[in-house]
Amino acid sequence: MNVAIQILSSGLTLGAIYALSTIGLSLVYGSLNMLNMAHGALLALGGYVCFYVMGVLGLPGLLGVPAAMLVCGLAGFVVYQLAARPMLASGGFETRIFIATIGIGAILGNVIQRSFGPQPVAQPLALHGALVLGEVYVPYQNLLILFVSVAMMAVVALLLGRTRVGRAIRATAQNRDAAQLMGIRIGRVYAQVLALSGALAALSGILISSLSGLLPNMGGDPMLKAFVICIVAGLGNVFGAVVAAFLLGLLEALIQYLLGVQYSFAILLLIVIAVLIWRPAGLFGRRQVVRL
């Protein structure tokens, strides 16, 4: 029983973090067919902005989080304006933006390293203490991560399902030409999606760094896992990605308990390969990519 609670607690925390870092990636792929390889650098940027506002400027965390989301949202917008928008006009967009965002990610990573140094720093936004359930300690930090992630996912779901902006995003993802014929300005939708994805990356980066600390290249591993989750769920399927994220988080926690940390990523990749052999379009993918 205690073991189950322990696994559940760390699995759900991992899943929440993965889900949050995957949603943005999935949204961007769903609406633009763009694999954003700068996503990891945006995670790190968000973590460092929060660190800067709280640790260096000494302001409260309630300012640090929105500041980080704002900065990364703007960064996403800039990626659209300077890289995606000019490339959308001509052919071969998917390949070119893939390579371009690798470059953008490298530049961002270098800027962060120049500004904050290569050594790890602690994220000041962290709760201490734990909830004691029998003999099991569930850190408050884990609960906070779970709460913030689920709340943010609810906000995104409401945005997509209930607002005019969300309808435009879903329409654009499902059929770009038809969306334009409804009077939707898809250039604006793309910019909004990249900004939203940046803001979500910031929040995710803050949560990740509150557990494992800040490093300029801290976004690489979560981004890789986010890609894995996107592919398992079916690229561009946001709701599937959330489910897959929690499944993989729980699975990872279980593998870590049974076999040890060093096996978790290898087994995760094995599962992905198995899923793709079994269902090439992903777990929740239909023959075509299911969009939003």
Partner: protein
């Protein structure tokens, strides 16, 4: 009769391949005009150029004198040109109702949403029962009705229909044609692309035969019906 839509020497295509050449066309208010002719001769390209999905490489397009040929598709919708594309292009993961409501996305259309929704349901009663069904799971005929209905939700000044009877069973084609006749009777301006020239000739005020990117013949439906033999070579009849 004043012209609603005016095309002057419009050329367009994909990359270096020119599909339509120096096309001129005037469509009057309340008219039903049909573009006929064999496949692959630029009918769909012409509609896509008017709605801004393609930019013309030359010439001008105007709606009631206002130039449209350098505008984005969303601005052209706002100006009043509604394009129901070939193959419907529905939003497959949205319900029928959500699809129809997307047609009224622009604020001006959104204000009329409730009233127009009733009009669409009056035109296609089947859609009322299918409201909650995902568009991706509909039959071909139902899909076509949603596509046309979604266009009607937008209102607009000119409705463009690209092959509304393509790939449908004869009985469904009859239903679609009935709806087109109703629209025409209500005084709507319509530009329709149709393979079946004889069928649309019964309804259209004017027909334009598009051959190899330019108009080979224009005339009324009565003219076409009275001497179809002169056009048989084009229409493969």
């Amino acid at each position: 009769m004043s012209a609603l839509l005016t095309l002057e020497r419009v050329s367009a295509g994909y990359g270096h391949q020119q599909v339509i050449r120096d096309l001129s066309l005037a469509l009057g208010e309340g008219q039903l005009a049909a573009l006929i002719g064999p496949n692959g001769h630029g009918k769909t390209t012409l509609l896509r150029t008017i709605s801004g999905l393609l930019h013309p490489s030359g010439g001008t397009i105007a709606l009631e004198g206002r130039r449209l040929d350098r505008l984005r598709p969303d601005q052209i919708v706002e100006a009043g040109i509604i394009h129901v594309p070939q193959g419907d292009l529905l939003f497959p993961e949205m319900t029928v109702l959500e699809n129809l409501r997307m047609g009224a996305y622009l604020p001006e259309a959104a204000r009329e949403e409730a009233r127009r929704l009733e009009e669409v349901f009056a035109l296609f009663p089947k859609l009322r029962d299918r409201q909650g069904q995902l568009a991706g799971t509909l039959s071909g005929g139902e899909r076509r009705m949603v596509g046309i209905g979604r266009g009607l939700m937008a209102g607009g000044r000119l409705l463009m229909l690209d092959e509304p009877s393509l790939g449908l069973a004869p009985i469904v084609i009859d239903q679609i044609y009935e709806a087109i006749a109703t629209l025409r009777a209500s005084g709507r301006s319509v530009l329709i692309v149709e393979e079946n020239a004889m069928r649309i000739a019964e309804l259209a005020d004017v027909l334009h035969l598009l051959d190899n990117g330019s108009f080979a013949w224009s005339g009324s439906g009565a003219e076409l019906l009275s001497r179809p033999e002169s056009l048989a070579a084009y229409l493969g009849a």
